[in-house]
Symmetry: C2
Subunit: 342 residues, 2 copies
């Protein structure tokens, strides 16, 4: 086992096998134009030397790195962790690796990270969950590789994307509450400046009220930051209002579960006194009691489909639909009176 220190190269293998480096390259890349006997010689030399192909050199020569970049808001959030798993599974299936960067949804970081990823010559870029501005477009356009958006969309329709219809989903959730007979329906959602997630959900909520002839009441709306703590305070505040809602659409599961607890802490029951419906369907939703009724978003699929779409672009395969909208559905569990089979 005479492994050389400092990297065995294709030349060493060629020498050891008594062939040229071109031949070694051929067997490594599975070229059919190699006599079985020589192939065998080379393979043995590779094994003897413990040769490990240098992907960087290969990348420089071939202009393909078989790695894609992923810019993500926060890998530690249940939503994006699951989405990332979808991405990685498909990437792995197509023999790509992924470089992951957390942006915390800060525009400057998003831009800088995208730039870095492009410098690393990724074969494609996946941009997740954040708004695409002209500054983003400038970078993406300068990329010589495809860019696909996931869990967000390009308002200008310039980049392909995979997402769900947020407004419709929020509409559906709110309407479900209305169908349950509620007329005072509260809303807890993220900062309305977030045009990708919060605002569309807010719009969906309002649209549902309007359709059913219910008036929109500003005092029934609270803004949170998607985290548990903020859900508690938002709900407490709603409960303390002059005329509290009998149902609340909470545009984020963590906040929704918090809302349930806030209601319970106030000595009331869910869904007895207040119905709660969430958004996302992260594992937490079904790991609490009462289990949370929520909008089920296909997180894994969004990632998987986005990655699959990216592979098509990278291989110049034709793609039929550039803006994929995956279906969502309502998952009725125990925090609303409407149950699964009703």
């Amino acid at each position: 086992m005479e492994k050389k220190r400092g990297a065995v190269t294709i030349y060493d293998v060629a020498e050891e096998a008594g062939v040229s480096m071109a031949t070694v390259s051929r067997v490594i890349n599975g070229s059919p134009n190699v006599k079985p006997a020589t192939r065998k010689k080379v393979l043995e030399a590779i094994r003897r030397l413990g040769y490990r192909p240098n992907a960087v050199a290969r990348g420089l020569a071939s202009k393909r790195t078989t790695t894609v970049g992923v810019v993500i808001p926060d890998i530690s959030s249940a939503f994006f962790a699951e989405l990332t798993r979808g991405i990685e599974d498909i990437a792995n299936m197509y023999h790509y690796n992924i470089i992951i960067c957390n942006s915390d949804q800060q525009k400057q970081k998003e831009l800088q990270l995208s730039e870095t990823l492009l410098e690393k010559q990724v074969d494609g870029l996946l941009f997740l969950g954040s708004e695409v501005t002209d500054e983003h477009r400038e970078i993406f356009d300068g990329a010589l590789v495809p860019v696909v958006l996931a869990a967000t969309v390009d308002r200008k329709g310039k980049y392909p994307s995979v997402s769900i219809d947020q407004k419709q989903a929020a509409f559906d959730a709110t309407e479900a509450l209305i169908r349950e007979g509620h007329r005072e329906i509260g809303l807890i959602c993220g900062p309305l400046t977030d045009t990708i997630n919060a605002y569309p959900r807010y719009e969906g909520y309002r649209a549902a009220l309007e359709k059913h002839g219910l008036s929109f009441r500003e005092d029934l709306v609270r803004i949170g930051d998607y985290r548990y703590r903020s859900g508690i305070s938002a709900m407490e505040s709603l409960l303390a209002a002059p005329s509290p809602p009998t149902a609340v659409f909470v545009a984020g599961d963590e906040m929704a579960v918090a809302a349930i607890h806030a209601v319970q802490d106030a000595g009331k029951s869910v869904p007895g006194d207040v119905s709660i419906i969430g958004f996302d369907d992260i594992p937490l939703a079904s790991q609490v009691r009462p289990q949370l009724s929520t909008v089920s978003v296909p997180m894994y699929d969004i990632g998987a489909v986005a990655m699959r779409l990216l592979t098509k672009y990278m291989n110049d395969e034709p793609v039929e639909n550039h803006e994929v909208v995956l279906p969502h559905r309502l998952e009725f569990r125990e925090s609303t009176r409407t149950r699964g089979e009703d």
Copy 2:
């Protein structure tokens, strides 16, 4: 804005700026040996051409890629997602990027992924949460870059690692239950074939019983797979036993929360009838009612410290402690009678 198609190179910039490529290289790499005036010229040429340095070429020439590989069991699990966030934050701080691969703790995948990562010439490797076998060692030894383990240890002490003392943590958790006055204490843990997580926790549990003169009862032990569903069945099974335990150490938070619910579903209360203590302290633990008392494991820190350690090795900095054992602590919440300040 005359951006050339097909990559602007350092040569183009040199020509545009009227200097040699070496000079361009110098300003890109922030070498101090460049006259301010020249630097300015180059910088402008770079901007005009929209030049983006090719990190692959740089990697080949410099033999450093500023990226590290991460082999992780499952990024979608709350535990590893948080740990990964710690890794990425520190990596980012030191200007490294991370390539993440899910192994699902399958040895073959672990080996194959490590190999791929090494081929990609990562500057270092982080191996997480799984057992290190001789086959792993063979690959790691063949790597010309440092390898650091996180949330696992090398039984042979060959590789540096960052983890907690699992056995001690389990001992502490079990002892807390004993101190509460329980004498029939159950255990729900992972498959004992897992020598990194499950077995040490099992040992700690037994050690605590022994220390306090309690006999170990096989019939009070159940095996799960760390997921919610398995926690439900394990607890149901325990409750159905001839003489059920009055307290259970559940070696995983998701299963622990499930255990709470199983107790409640049986019409009993936690901690009134049964005390439950978990392990890990993932967000879920404090997002359910009653809130779960558990062993708090510094997940983020394990990742952060491991990455920091890796940077030291990559830069040949001296390191004092090769086997870092981070402190754990008991977080008493509501699923045990012992509370925070008692």
